[in-house]
């Protein structure tokens, strides 16, 4: 079993368990965070400039930056946060093309439920991370280090999930 490095706090930084992987050269200096429209029908991206900090060149640091951005919520009024209040990222790691996220119980317990709600939460993460972290194709969810069958009773979270781009609102 590969040990996880727990994060003391999201704000302080993230200690990343590193695998042997090539350094990431992201072509642009920004990433997209997918938030939900108010009607819950779509995911809509918001861009965030990547800070010039050196650590963000690694895949894990980019992933952490993305999750932190999603936890912070959208800047636009027309968009809605997708992660429940109180959610904390406890750790993340990348194995091959799978990024594993470990959240605290709030992700599940504070979730309002519903297929629409579950899709928004799961795919705002998966879509944002797969698009924003080179080499990551799928995302696995853990709660306090344990695998889960589902988040709130609809989606199968027992295995890594690929993004669902059909949820993204086509550009006008």
């Amino acid at each position: 079993m590969i040990a996880f490095v727990l994060l003391a706090a999201v704000a302080v930084g993230v200690a990343v368990w590193r695998q042997v992987r090539p350094p990431i050269q992201h072509p642009r200096g920004e990433i997209k965070l997918y938030f939900a429209t108010r009607d819950g029908l779509y995911l809509v991206p918001e861009s965030r400039p990547l800070p010039a900090a050196a650590g963000l060149t690694s895949a894990e640091e980019r992933a952490f930056f993305i999750v932190r951005g999603l936890l912070a919520g959208p800047t636009q009024e027309r968009l809605v946060p997708t992660l429940p209040p109180g959610t904390e990222l406890l750790g993340l790691r990348i194995e091959g093309d799978v990024l594993t996220l470990d959240f605290n119980r709030a992700l599940q317990e504070n979730h309002g439920g519903g297929s629409t709600g579950e899709l928004a939460t799961v795919y705002s993460l998966v879509n944002s991370l797969v698009e924003g972290v080179p080499g990551v194709a799928r995302v696995r969810f853990l709660i306090e280090g344990e695998p889960i069958e589902t988040l709130v009773g609809h989606l199968d979270l027992s295995h890594p999930l690929a993004p669902d781009w059909s949820l993204v609102k086509p550009s006008p």
Binding site: G40, L41, V80, T82, G114, V122, L155, D156
Partner: protein
């Protein structure tokens, strides 16, 4: 022949002997007969011998009012004396009185053209007292006479007539005479003390006349308006009163059919008494009307009817009219009252003669064949599910057997029974609740029950109420729990589908937690044909509303099912959100059958939470989803038929 000539010879010898023996007596004094003190002229005269008197019967009959001299029939003399029928044979030692035999102490004498019986016997037969005065040669007969005290016109039960009141019950005889039509009533041992009633009489009688026709016979003559028979009877309450009532006149009998109801109508001049017999081989209905005479213009009438061939009328007996309804099939009847009390109306109880179940595309037809009746009322009954079609004015043919339905339903069997004396009930036993209509088939005597065969009939449908137990699902602001909404919706949907003949399997039927993969596994184990997961949605923002469906990408059947359910839910006024394909919904990916997840509406939307909290809405939603499923299977059926 020999015996006859011997008898004749014997009679001749006896006669000669008698003449020889009686000759001296005849030469002597001739006995006279007094009846109630008055001389009764008899020719020939009575014979007297050895202290007794023999009376000439033929002469006596004439003297007591006999219409004509009695005739000889060979050696037999039939005569009527004072209303009594007497048959005599010369030399016989017995006499027949009103059909019964009396032995005689001596043989019947003959002298000339008359036969003689002892006066004491004659008096006894007539009910008279007799005293023989040997010295005066006078026979005194005392007849106890009833006094006829009143004659009056009468009308009872619509039948005109008249009454005769006497001091004692009367012995009487009634005859009808023609030209002019009149009724003659002879009253025996009667003495007239009444005057004629004033004319005119009533609708049947012009007038009444009475006279002392013979010493002991009063004759009453009723002059009639038209020739009609009369019934005579002693008044049940006053036997000394004799009532005569005109027979009913039957003028018409006809058969008609109105709105499927066949009716025989017999028209009379007065309220008719009747008796009906249902006869077979050939089938016919016979109506006998006693104390009735036929005066109909038409005595036979062909009928163009599925059940009836002819109406016939006849004077079956002098006092009995018979109406016969010739039937094409044995039928019963029921009497009905009409406004005209002089009518007899019999409604034919047509028969239910055939039951048939027929499968046509989308429908099962139950065909009820009758002999004519097509008036019906239909009922939908439950527990068990069945339709009852009451056919008015019909009886169930005894030959009728129940018919089984075909295939998987919805008709289990069709049976018929007599619901009451006037109604036949056809029961269609169903496998489940159905939509139906009952129609009369034009130009026939068939009632057709058209039962819509549901497209879900016999289909295996898995209904999956989401969440449950430890997993409450979403919450509404008021605290309404998704798992409770889902379970209620699931139960309702299951019932609706079951009522249409589907085989429904619920992944949970109570508040228990069932893991997602287990739900799919249960569905697969049940070999369901479709899988419908029921949920109530939720989103962070209360603005979100409407119905949303999910299916597995590429599963076109599931997509179509989702579209149809969405279409029906939208019909309830719910916003049509989206039908989404996603690979990660366990319950749409894992079942080996077209599967959809239905988010009916948003618990997180206050308006929709109110709807979901309402049982009426949940029923509507369940029915809408069922309609979507029904349409899905209809399309499937059409596609299968097209191949």
């Amino acid at each position: 022949m020999q015996q006859s000539s011997f008898s004749r010879g014997y009679a001749l010898a006896l006669l000669l002997l008698l003449l020889f023996w009686l000759a001296p007596l005849v030469a002597a004094a001739v006995p006279q007969v007094l009846l109630n003190g008055e001389l009764l002229p008899l020719t020939p005269a009575p014979l007297e011998s050895a202290g007794s008197v023999q009376l000439p019967l033929r002469a006596l009959a004439l003297a007591l009012g006999g219409e004509q001299a009695a005739a000889w029939e060979g050696e037999v003399l039939d005569l009527k004396v004072n209303g009594q029928e007497i048959r005599l044979r010369e030399g016989a030692t017995e006499v027949e009185v009103n059909g019964s035999r009396r032995r005689l102490s001596a043989a019947v004498l003959r002298a000339g053209e008359d036969l003689y019986l002892p006066a004491s016997l004659v008096a006894e037969l007539l009910g008279y007292r007799s005293v023989w005065d040997e010295e005066k040669h006078i026979l005194s007969l005392e007849a106890p006479l009833a006094r006829v005290e009143a004659l009056s016109y009468a009308e009872r039960d619509g039948r005109p007539g008249f009454s005769i009141v006497a001091t004692r019950p009367l012995r009487y005889e009634v005859r009808s005479l023609a030209n002019p039509p009149r009724l003659v009533v002879d009253l025996y041992d009667a003495r007239l003390a009444a005057g004629d009633p004033p004319v005119p009489g009533n609708s049947a009688i012009r007038g009444l006349r009475a006279r002392q026709f013979a010493p002991t016979v009063v004759r009453v003559v009723a002059d009639l308006v038209q020739p009609v028979s009369f019934a005579a009877e002693r008044d049940p309450a006053r036997p000394q009163q004799l009532n005569l009532r005109a027979y009913r006149v039957v003028t018409r009998a006809s058969f008609s059919r109105t709105e499927g109801q066949g009716r025989l109508t017999i028209q009379g001049s007065a309220p008719l008494v009747y008796e009906v017999k249902v006869l077979e081989s050939p089938p016919r209905l016979v109506v006998d009307l006693p104390q009735a005479v036929l005066q109909a213009a038409e005595t036979e009438q062909a009928v163009d009817d599925p059940a009836v061939a002819k109406v016939r009328l006849s004077q079956f007996q002098p006092d009995l009219v018979r109406v016969v309804l010739d039937l094409k099939t044995p039928l019963s009847y029921r009497p009905v009252l009409t406004e005209d009390s002089r009518q007899v109306a019999l409604e034919l109880l047509d028969q239910v003669v055939g039951l048939q179940v027929e499968e046509v595309p989308g429908k099962t037809r139950v065909i009820i064949e009758t002999t004519g009746a097509t008036a019906f009322s239909a009922l939908h009954l439950t527990q068990p599910e069945r339709l009852a079609i009451d056919i008015l004015g019909a009886a169930v043919s005894p030959q009728l057997q129940p018919v089984a339905g075909q295939g998987e339903g919805p008709v289990r069997q069709v049976r018929a029974a007599q619901f009451n004396s006037e109604t036949a009930r056809v029961v269609v036993d169903l496998t489940h609740s159905v939509g139906y209509q009952v129609v009369k088939e034009e130009g026939s005597h068939r009632i057709v029950v058209e039962i819509n065969r549901s497209a879900v009939l016999g289909k295996r449908i898995v209904v999956d109420p989401g969440h449950g137990g430890a997993d409450p699902g979403a919450f509404g602001r008021s605290g309404l729990r998704e798992k409770d909404v889902n379970l209620d919706l699931g139960r309702r949907l299951a019932e609706v589908l079951q009522n249409r003949g589907a085989e429904v399997f619920l992944t949970r039927s109570d508040d228990t937690f069932v893991p997602l993969y287990d739900r799919a596994a249960l569905a697969n184990a049940q070999q369901g044909q479709i899988f419908v997961s029921l949920h109530a949605n939720s989103f962070r923002h209360q603005y979100a509303n409407g119905s949303e469906m999910y299916y597995y990408p590429g599963n076109e059947k599931a997509k179509r099912l989702a579209e149809l359910i969405s279409d029906e839910l939208t019909g309830l006024g719910l916003a049509n959100r989206a039908i989404k394909a996603n690979k990660e919904f366990v319950v749409v990916r894992e079942p080996k059958m077209p599967a959809v997840l239905v988010e009916v509406a948003f618990l997180s939307n206050p308006d929709e939470e109110k709807l979901l909290a309402d049982a009426g809405f949940r029923q509507q939603a369940a029915e809408a989803i069922a309609r979507g499923i029904e349409r899905y299977f209809q399309e499937e059926g059409r596609a299968a038929a097209a191949q």
